[in-house]
């Protein structure tokens, strides 16, 4: 029971990182139907920014987190304007290849400029372990979980309650109709990229704090896992992405805990395929009927 609870705590910490990343994928996919392959690399940039400001200016953790979110948001919007906007009316597979190009560019550009070696992320928050009911919870795990939940609630409020959020949902449903009622789709798409990238930047700083190591290729695998999480939750659905992230995180730690860590990636993909075969649009996705 204790081991089980311990693994749940570990799974929730990892899951909140996946969930934060998955939210960006799901929002961007919901609005322009693009698998933004560069999303994992924005998470990497967020982690590197956190590393840079903490080491150079010795700022505290929250300043690093907020500034990484702002930098990531700006970068995400810049990428959208330069690389994706010219392809708004091209075949979707073209935009996908461009996204892969952007991802290669960020990974290799960072390796070229700052070296491909792994660095130690500074300990901006001293680690304390709490022992509750026989399980060990570190303050960093609590911090990750709380930050992730606060950001998710904030996102849900933005999307559901603000004017910008309403416009986002309108563009996701029908960009042309939204344009007719005076919403500028380009403006909204930029905003969506900004929001998603900010969450990815936050996830990058949090993972740096949790695992203590960052490198230019760190975004690849979590990026793909987070996309799987978004698909499992039902792509386009914000609560779905959050649930999908936690499901994948718990699954991975669970498989690792029973001694099959070599197969943890396979387990994630088997669950993905099974869920897609049973529920083709994911756990919370809307099933769109095709009309003849």
């Amino acid at each position: 029971m204790q081991t089980f609870l311990q693994q749940v705590i570990n799974g929730l910490s990892l899951g909140s990182i996946y969930a934060l990343l998955a939210l960006g994928y799901t929002m961007v996919y919901g609005i322009i139907k693009l698998i933004n392959f560069a999303h994992g690399d924005i998470y990497m940039i967020g982690a590197f920014w956190g590393y840079y400001v903490i080491n150079t200016y010795h700022v505290n953790f929250f300043v690093a987190l907020i500034s990484a979110m702002i930098i990531s948001a700006l970068l995400g919007m810049l990428i959208e304007v330069l690389a994706y906007r010219p392809l708004r009316h091209s075949p979707r597979i073209t935009a996908l290849i461009t996204a892969i190009g952007v991802s290669y560019f960020l990974e290799n550009g960072m390796s070229f400029l700052f070296g491909a070696d792994t660095r130690d992320f500074p300990q901006a928050v001293a680690q304390h372990n709490y022992h509750v009911l026989g399980i060990t919870v570190s303050n960093i795990q609590v911090l990750i979980l709380v930050t992730a939940v606060v950001l998710m609630i904030g996102l849900q409020l933005i999307v559901q309650k603000t004017k910008m959020g309403t416009a986002m949902r309108a563009v996701a449903v029908d960009p042309e109709a939204a344009a007719l009622v005076g919403i500028d789709p380009n403006h909204i798409i930029s905003f969506t990229f900004g929001l998603g990238s900010a969450l990815a930047g936050a996830a990058g700083v949090l993972i740096g704090l949790y695992y203590n190591s960052i490198d230019p290729l760190m975004g690849m695998t979590p990026g793909i896992k987070a996309f799987v999480a978004a698909v499992v939750g039902g792509i386009g659905s914000i609560p779905g992405a959050a649930i999908g992230g936690f499901v994948i995180g718990l699954l991975e730690t669970g498989v690792q805990a029973i001694g099959l860590s070599a197969y943890k990636d396979a387990a994630v993909y088997i669950v993905l395929i099974v869920i897609l075969v049973i529920l083709p649009s994911g756990l919370l996705g809307k099933n769109v009927k095709e009309k003849v």
Partner: protein, 324 residues
Amino acid sequence: MATKWKAALCWLALAAAGFGLINVLIGVGVIDTFIENMLVTIGINIILATGLNLIIGFSGQFSLGHAGFMALGAYATAIITSAMPTVGGFYLSVAVGIAIAMVVAVIIGIPTLRLRGDYLAIATMGAAEIIRVILNNLKITNGAAGMFNIPALAGWPTVYVMVCLTTLMIVNFARSRAGRAIQAIREDEIAAEASGIDPTKWKLAAFVMGAATAAIGGSLDAVYIQTIAPGNFGIMNSIAILIIVVLGGVGSMTGTFMAAAVLGVLDTVLQSFGALRMVIYALALIAIMVFKPSGLLGRYEVSIRAWLDRKGVNNAASNSNRAE
């Protein structure tokens, strides 16, 4: 003689001429081992990418798991040729690789081909990753270290002949009844189904065909490079093949040839840039996509038959002019 046979003879002559040309150029020393290496890589990429183009461009199914099937062929060859290091053993291993890839493609395809678009892409990607994880953990495949000292049983002539054969097979498949059926499904699945085409059956046929050619590519890769590891067959390798297809133009086999050649040459030229290589490659990729969104050739195909037909029409027209 029917134009059909004339066109076929022309292609045969072209293929033979190409073979002769490479032979002569190697003889006089224009093609050194460096360039020969590049040509073989281009050839293997053509085999892989034409198969993927059949799946993506002709049947309209977005598969991101091509490297998984390639891995099956590569491992079949590595395991069989280490026991039977003869040319016969190599061809046996190619056949076994194809058979395994086809069976696995059926197993993966039946549940996943019901999915559409990006969902299919992500499911096939997952399936390929599962193959990779299994190869990574089996004893017979030597785990994550991979297999080395695979006997060098195929040089550029084998690769050249295989490129011609697989292309012939795929182009003929695309022009046959099956090819017309899968193109009808690509354009409108419901309309195709209403006219009596079974979408699942034909989509699966294209998927299995693509998987079989991927296995051939994998086998050739194993005996040419002589070292394979599960890490060579990950998502990024599937994406590398996808890039060739999209860059050339989805649905254009000529485009696939051209893109494989362009990328192969670009890669060789960029070797001298060291760490900047991938940065330039990435920028080139973004630039081509932004300025030429439909790929280098769109859906254009070079067809000797169409050219002969046009010439025939012109001749007939000029003949009838003379008769008047």
